[in-house]
């Protein structure tokens, strides 16, 4: 880490201001308590404090050298004692030398200066202690900031990775079964086989391209879902019908891409696959308070024994919405009589 007293202007300015106050205090003590002439007091205070001020900046390097992470406490303690003694000793030696050459012939002051050396030495130690304490705080604080920054970056990465894994993936079972239907249609009904090939291609293409994007329009999502349902309709003939009740204000709504697909797959899997009766799949969208409310529902055979494993798609949607909108409970699942309904709430 570089010396903040050199690189950071704010820190440097604060440092100067503090020293200016020390200068004033020092001056006042000499002038008013010890009755030393004003000029002598000014010079004494100025030189001594100026010297320590310059030395104080370089103390950063002793702190940086004695990093708390690298050495044990005892070693650091003794290093600092030695540094403090040297710094303080150097300080009073230089100060004494300058003052004896600037103030000549003032015996009272000279006598005072010699007597005060012990005190000055101790004050030097005190300065040393305060400065390195401040240095350590600065290091700790900036490390802490860095850590926070890194943590935030890490969180963003984790979130991105999570979103990636939660994204919709085409069910291979669906693809192979559709291909099998096409294979069968090529013999019995080539025109329909062609139609289905095109639909399957469109669905795959838009699914692949949508997965690149984080969000898309609800109307696009619905179109994609319709392609999917059309393909399933070929496979399951007249086993289901699709009803759409989407208010116009919903169509332009931005939603996480491929958010509806798992809901329709769920409806097909647990409604149509497991039922011998005709199933109605209904999509509705409207406003409710600060949310757009999108619901997919289907009737199911209440007699059929539910297979577990359902809900992985829904759980993924829950987690995805939570990550994207930073809100819990954006998905509700209801089972009323023979109606299964999943509702998702998109914050406005």
């Amino acid at each position: 880490m570089t010396n903040p007293f050199v690189t950071n202007k704010k820190v440097l300015a604060t440092y100067f201001i503090v020293w200016f106050f020390i200068f004033l205090v020092h001056l006042s003590v000499l002038k008013f308590f010890l009755n030393i002439q004003l000029l002598t007091s000014v010079l004494d205070s100025l030189f001594f404090n100026l010297i320590y001020q310059v030395m104080g900046i370089s103390l950063w390097y002793t702190v940086n050298f004695n990093s708390l992470d690298n050495y044990n406490t005892v070693k650091i303690f003794f290093n600092h004692i030695a540094a403090a003694v040297i710094t303080s000793g150097l300080w009073i030696a230089v100060g004494y030398y300058i003052m004896t050459h600037v103030i000549i012939g003032n015996n009272i002051y000279n006598e005072f200066l010699i007597k005060s050396l012990v005190w000055r030495f101790l004050i030097g130690i005190l300065f040393y202690t305060v400065i390195i304490a401040v240095d350590y705080v600065i290091i700790y604080y900036s490390n802490f900031q860095e850590k926070l920054l890194k943590e935030a970056e890490l969180n963003a990465l984790v979130k991105e990775a999570e979103l990636k894994t939660l994204k919709y993936q085409i069910n291979p079972h669906f693809i192979f079964n559709s291909l099998n239907s096409i294979s069968s249609l090529t013999v019995s009904n080539p025109a329909q086989a062609q139609e289905m090939t095109i639909k399957l291609s469109s669905f795959l293409r838009s699914t692949l391209s949508k997965n690149e994007k984080q969000k898309s329009k609800l109307s696009e999502e619905i179109n994609n879902a319709k392609l999917y349902l059309d393909i399933e309709r070929v496979r399951f003939a007249d086993k289901f019908e699709f009803v759409e009740e989407v208010r116009n204000e919903c169509k332009e709504l931005d939603v996480p891409s491929m958010i509806l697909q798992p809901l329709f797959e769920n409806a097909i899997k647990h409604g149509v696959y497991e039922s011998l009766e005709k199933v109605t799949i209904k999509l509705s969208c409207g406003m409710e308070k600060e949310y757009f409310k999108i619901a997919v529902e289907n009737n199911f055979d209440p007699e059929s024994v539910p297979r577990k494993g359902e809900g992985i798609g829904i759980k993924n949607i829950k987690n995805r919405l939570k990550l994207i909108y930073n809100q819990e409970n954006l998905v509700t699942v209801e089972k009323v009589k023979n109606i299964f309904r999943v509702t998702i709430f998109i914050p406005v």
Binding site: N177, N180, S181, S184, L185, Y273, L276, K308
Partner: protein
């Protein structure tokens, strides 16, 4: 050739059945006697028509292909047709002649058919299972969620939640549920492999108990324990069973 080979197609998709029908036309000594679109119907037709050969999808409404086979007493020769690759592995063993992954070609279909015809025409019935059959095994990514039972003439599907405890009965197991006791033609090992061990605890060589039906565990004699169920029934706990319980309650 004395008579035609009787065949049933069991698949919930019409188009999937169609392609098999189309492919079957090339085999003159094969007669399609029924088409079924779910496992229950399949079961009924097999028992009534006694086919020699069935084409069986796995994922179907009501009863999966595997569940259907579990309760079939004398299964015919089976050719699986499925899009599920994951079913081709591990844990749940069924004898099958071949396994067709959808979509399949006419050549691949003919290969499977020739294998089946060879077995049906050359090997006397009864011995068929022993020779030349491959094992199709279901891979369970999840724990068992329901058990299919043949109870008299009825087929029962029992959700796993309804089972209170399971008791070994020689090579079979007795399931004690809220609705009565049912014999299942599966071993303790099967349940050991397919039950969620956090939900069902093996407390004894002969017992699994559902955790939520346990009222308390009590000391019986020194170093010996028993489990008391809510219904009042007591089950013995073996040493390793006690370890299993301790693991759960840790």
């Amino acid at each position: 050739m004395k008579e035609k080979i009787k065949t049933i197609i069991i698949d919930d998709e019409r188009l999937a059945r169609d392609i098999i029908k189309i492919y079957l036309k090339k085999f003159e000594n094969v007669e399609l006697v029924a088409e079924c679109s779910d496992g229950f119907d399949g079961l009924k037709q097999i028992n009534e028509l006694k086919p020699d050969l069935i084409f069986l999808d796995i994922q179907m409404p009501k009863l999966t292909g595997f569940e259907m086979l579990e309760i079939l007493e004398e299964p015919p020769i089976i050719i699986f047709t499925t899009a599920f690759d994951q079913y081709a592995l591990k844990a749940f063993e069924v004898n099958a002649t071949d396994y067709l992954l959808k979509p399949f070609s006419a050549e691949r279909f003919a290969e499977a058919m020739n294998k089946a015809i060879k077995i049906i025409t050359q090997i006397p019935p009864g011995k068929q299972k022993l020779d030349g059959l491959m094992k199709v095994v279901e891979k369970r990514n999840e724990f068992l969620d329901r058990v299919v039972i043949k109870h008299g003439q009825k087929i029962l599907i029992i959700p796993i939640e309804e089972i209170r405890y399971i008791e070994a009965q020689d090579d079979y197991t007795m399931l004690y549920t809220d609705k009565g006791n049912f014999l299942k033609q599966k071993t303790m090992k099967y349940f050991e492999e397919n039950l969620n061990s956090k939900e069902f605890i093996r407390i004894h060589r002969s017992y699994f108990v559902k955790l939520s039906s346990v009222k308390q565990i009590e000391m019986f004699e020194k170093e010996s324990y028993r489990v008391l169920l809510h219904e009042g029934k007591q089950l013995p706990v073996s040493k390793s069973g006690y370890q299993n319980l301790k693991e759960i309650f840790k």
